[in-house]
């Protein structure tokens, strides 16, 4: 049995115009594994997590957590899950310890266990010194750790992490990754949403790529990369104007149009050595100087680009730029609804 199972989830949000946030999403998470739900902002990732964590009711489709229906058996599901989100849902007027105790009590743990567990988690997450300070004094990374600790107070076998490292500095991100890996080694099943390919590549056993409320690919990170079955030739030229003409010259050589990124042109091909030689010859004939040439295996970023026609992080930046005024304040349906 899968630890988490969702079938054909559909969810629409009505507003100024109706937005179909999910358009038939199915996912399976095997027990003790990490599933990475990868996609740009507004792809529907958060909506999936909110349905699985009983916060939202789907318009169609159904989902089960450890065999329990998230709508009809919501009370049971809530005792099996922990939820930590990108907006660090904690009370900033309470201290770290008070926040954890509140969650422990609301999880209906016996008082003694709540107290013990809160202190253990604070220590484990390096927050002992800050335990009696209000959250207003915490850094972003500390809040995020406290939010994760709060999700773990009830020792849930299933953990939902909605973009756990978005907006964190590299060190804090690394720290959280170590914690998440530790949780999975200890037997927790994790469903993680992310817009960072690197994060999915590092943490996830399987990846489901969503875009516009649909699953557009799934598999292990290796499978997704292998699907391209090809090599990327990356040519660097002196400037972006040259890059555009180079792309025009080289486009007959590859099955898909070349991708231009500033002064770099990338070709995704099957016979890399032959095409590379041809490309250099063609450019030489046109008198173009090539500054750099590399051949590499495709990254998840290439996979994403191929699948969606846009780069994951670019879109994420544009989207978060457009909604940055809502940072920390918008209910998730607005976040997800905006596209």
């Amino acid at each position: 049995m899968n630890a988490v199972e969702a079938r054909d989830l559909v969810k629409e949000f009505s507003g100024k115009r109706t937005v179909r946030a999910l358009d038939g999403v199915s996912i399976d998470v095997r027990p003790g594994s990490i599933l990475g739900l990868l996609g740009p902002n507004g792809a529907g990732k958060t909506t999936v997590v909110r349905i699985l964590s009983t916060v939202l009711v789907p318009d169609a489709g159904h989902a089960r957590v450890l065999g329990h229906d998230v709508v009809r058996e919501a009370d049971i599901v809530r005792r099996l899950i922990g939820l930590a989100g990108q907006y660090a849902a904690v009370d900033e007027n309470l201290t770290g310890r008070e926040n954890l105790r509140m969650v422990g009590r609301l999880t209906h743990l016996p008082k003694k266990i709540t107290l013990e567990r809160s202190d253990t988690l604070l220590e484990q997450f390096g927050l002992s010194d800050a335990a009696n300070r209000t959250l207003k004094t915490y850094s972003g990374g500390m809040r995020r750790r406290l939010d994760l600790a709060a999700a773990l107070v009830g020792r849930p076998p299933i953990l939902f992490l909605d973009e756990p490292t978005t907006g964190l500095d590299p060190q804090s991100r690394q720290d959280l990754w170590v914690v998440i890996e530790g949780l999975v080694r200890a037997g927790t099943t994790v469903l993680l949403t992310t817009q960072y390919l690197e994060e999915a590549d590092r943490l996830a056993d399987r990846i489901v790529v969503v875009d516009h409320g649909r699953v557009i690919a799934e598999g292990t990170p290796a499978e997704l990369k292998a699907d391209l079955g090809t090599t990327v030739i990356s040519l660097t030229v002196p400037d972006s104007a040259t890059a555009r003409s180079v792309a025009a010259i080289l486009s007959p050589l590859a099955p898909r149009p070349p991708v231009i990124d500033d002064a770099t042109v990338e070709l995704t091909v099957e016979e890399a050595p032959r095409v590379a030689a041809e490309a250099l010859r063609a450019l030489d004939q046109h008198g173009v100087t090539v500054v750099g040439l590399t051949l590499r295996e495709p990254s998840l970023d290439d996979v994403f680009l191929r699948l969606t026609g846009h780069r994951a992080e670019e879109v994420a930046e544009v989207a978060s730029g457009a909604t940055s005024s809502d940072e920390g304040g918008t209910p998730s349906h607005d976040r997800e609804g905006r596209r």
């Binding site: 909110r50 964590s53 009983t54 916060v55 939202l56 009711v57 009370d75 809530r78 005792r79 099996l80 899950i81 939820l83 989100g85 907006y87 660090a88 849902a89 904690v90 009370d91 900033e92 007027n93 309470l94 008070e98 509140m102 969650v103 009590r105 609301l106 999880t107 209906h108 743990l109 016996p110 266990i113 253990t120 484990q124 997450f125 390096g126 209000t134 990374g141 709060a150 773990l152 009830g154 020792r155 849930p156 076998p157 060190q171 690394q174 720290d175 170590v178 914690v179 530790g182 949780l183 080694r185 200890a186 037997g187 927790t188 920390g328 304040g329 918008t330 209910p331 998730s332 349906h333």
Partner: protein, 280 residues
Amino acid sequence: MTALTVDPALLAPGRRESHPGGSRLRWALSDAGTVTWRNLISYTRIPDAIFFSSVQPIMFVLLFRYVFGGVIHVPGVTYVNYLMAGVFVQTVMFGAVSTSVGLAEDLHKGLIERFHALPMARSAVLAGRTTADLVRNVGVVLLITAVGYLVGFRVQTSPLSFVAGLLLILFFAYAVSWGFAIIGLSASNSETAQLAAFPVLFPLTFASSAFVPVTSMPGWLQAFAIHQPVSQVIDASRELMLGGHSNLWSMSDVWQSLSWSAGILVVVAPIAVWRYRRTA
């Protein structure tokens, strides 16, 4: 910070110690208590909140007692005695805005989302918010009573009757607080919640018998001022504190006031709960 070293054994998912034993009602009360506790602690750490619920009402007492009081004449009663019931009600009415603002903040900081995903009672967030506001109101009316005494207010009936008057006001405040919960759950942020609350608050509070006898108002306004619930509650508690000065002592004002409060609660509480369930 240094790299975290987490011992996986300590984070292992455990057999659930949570014991869903015990009746639903027991857990509903326990959860409401926890949320109340959290709101009260949170509240003591917001300087603005403390200011608006303690300093502001004291300033209103002093303002009306010493600045406007000189020109307002109410037959048969000293103005400071007349004033106090009005200040009590005005204070708890303004305090109800904090129900809106508090819920709007919880909603937009994602806290309500976390609550939705916990096995806690669905009623606890609203019950905990309104109860915390009730507890705060108890503290505030006691504070105003003390300040009132310092500036010359004296209960004309009996201590018991005075307490009954306060309870009437607190019950009304509790009912109104559920109404303001709806505004908080519907507003797009806490500032909007605050702005949306005032157009409701102002006419009800000031076009009432709170600070001046309604007979001094123009006829069209008088009709509204006499019959609206805030005036009813003020008149009833004023009678309980001072005895019947304008009307003969009669319990009918008290019953009317209680019916208003109960009626408001019965109508708005289910709407607030419905609204809360849809906030996800």
